[in-house]
Symmetry: C2
Subunit: 329 residues, 2 copies
């Protein structure tokens, strides 16, 4: 049975559509008696107003699209949680889509979000190419990039200083005496590129040249440990592994266990994201905190501001990474 409509409410208490609408929206032009009648009728038949009709009329849906790689990654769970916290207080809702690091899925998800006429969009772009962003600009939807920016395009974004992340990792590992470092990286996105640059540059500054075979890129949706195995089977003997994110680091930890290598005795491991669990892994993981939750908060705040003043300038927020030393290095 189709849900109750305003017409049903109006009919039930013998008033017009307009009056019913006014009563339910607390307009002043309704007598207290009528208002009470309407509210009672609405209550009785369990009326809930259709956001579809409202949205069609008003041009806003009170929904913000959030497009990430996958919610299974606790990093994004943290980010989304931050977004949710901010949006909730302004009665905005989240329409969640995942790209699984695939360009096609990202494009399709974007279509869905545009079709749903989301009021704004928060996304972690899969690639460092501008297509996606250009599409949003063409459709003039307010949006913020989160976690990853796109080079050479003026947009709002909230990221951490990824070059510094790579640099910090390199410095920390060098301090610990590691020169043979395997870099398990993500693919295509700008954060990955920047972290790699920061890493390589810092290594080079210390006179160490990392050859390309020490840089492994994990294909989308593949367990990082296979990239590790690949390296080991190629005869590489790293004394440390630096991973793009903690998720991968955890997979590496598990892979090393399989191969019988002890951390940190035989090999050091470090990640990025400072996920909650890294505190109690075996061993506790050295990682870099990039303020996951805060990223969500800030990106949501930017979207809200954009909705309030549509002409506003783009905002770029670059958060500072912090090294979290634990026992895996």
């Amino acid at each position: 049975m189709a849900p109750a409509t305003l017409k049903d409410v109006a009919k039930r208490c013998g008033v017009s559509l307009a009056t019913a609408s006014r009563a339910l929206n607390n307009r002043s032009e309704v007598s207290p008696i009528t208002r009470a009648k309407v509210l009672k009728a609405a209550e009785e038949i369990g009326y809930v107003a259709s956001s579809l009709a409202k949205g069609l009329w008003s041009g806003e849906t009170k929904v913000i699209g959030v497009l990430i790689t996958t919610i299974e990654n606790p990093f994004y769970a943290n980010v989304v949680s931050g977004i949710e916290k901010v949006l909730k207080d302004h009665s905005y809702n989240i329409l969640l889509c995942s790209s699984y690091e695939e360009v096609d899925q990202e494009w399709a998800a974007l279509t869905v979000l545009l079709e749903q006429r989301v009021d704004g969009l928060i996304l972690a772009p899969v690639q460092s190419k501008p297509e996606v962003v250009e599409r949003l600009q063409k459709n003039s939807v307010p949006f913020v990039l989160v976690g990853r920016s796109i080079p050479g395009i003026d947009t709002s974004y909230v990221v951490c200083d990824d070059f510094k992340v790579g640099a910090m990792a390199a410095e920390h590992l060098l301090e610990q005496g590691h020169e043979k470092v395997l870099f398990i990286n993500s693919s295509r996105n700008y954060s990955a590129e920047q972290r790699l640059q920061g890493f390589l540059t810092t290594m080079q500054q210390h006179g160490i040249n990392i050859s390309p075979k020490w840089i492994k890129t994990v294909p989308a949706n593949q367990n990082a440990k296979y990239s590790l195995f690949e390296a080991l089977d190629q005869g590489l003997e790293p004394s440390a592994v630096f991973c793009f994110c903690d998720c991968m680091a955890l997979e590496i930890l598990s892979g090393l266990k399989e191969r019988g290598l002890k951390v940190p005795a035989d090999i050091a491991v470090m990640g990025v994201d400072n996920l909650n669990v890294t505190e109690i892994t075996d061993p506790p993981l050295t990682t870099i905190d990039i303020q996951n939750y805060e990223m969500g908060i800030r990106s949501a705040e930017i979207i809200l501001k954009k909705l309030q003043e549509p002409g506003a300038k783009h905002e770029q927020i670059i958060l500072s990474p912090k090294l979290v030393k634990r026992n895996s290095t």
Copy 2:
């Protein structure tokens, strides 16, 4: 600037609204030439059809509401991931809401989902009381409960055998010689009640009576370790802790570390959910696998079936829990 409409497309290539609509929807009554014209125009102005208008017309939104406690809990991330996998193939999207274990927030989220006219709903109810479900029934929205059912009401649900979960835990701990077991439980929901019953019953069958002070309930959004501390500070000296879920178990692990207690030497810990990380915690956590991902899959399948044949009977799926022995016990 407002998004392009069908009218814009029609005007741009000099056809009527109807023709434009037909062309874009691959109706047969349009000449190939006209179709091409329309598609080109739509492409050029970046037209995307409004789901709002479509939904208003058709009565379906292609959106499924998902209402969980919080996506920060990897258990629900697993569940949502399963749901997403199934829905994606049928072009349904997810509108995600969180209750944070609060009845009020759950009620508010439900209002939002009904307003958005979701085609169906998958939810993990906060309480074992029937209000929420009754509301959905009154509004005649197809729904499935996931992870937790509600006693005494005929609905569709996908859960694991929670009584058995409690029983399995009790048996496993007894086998290891633990009789002084602290139960760190969740509050109010039926799964929690059932696990407790299974636990107590099994203990009793072995002649062991657990007094109420050994059962701690963790308030919503509070770290489980405080419940542990409370117990310890009351002078309780448990030889094992059984937690409602792995999330709590991880918090307990961390709390025990703070208090300088070694696991499993001084005290054993076990959880439920078999989260990925439990494999590499220190120590690896003994837990019970309740098929998180599968729960998502099945619940999504049920919703899809309900949408196809609205008259269908309710489906109850009870998945079997499996003990995963590791080193924490």
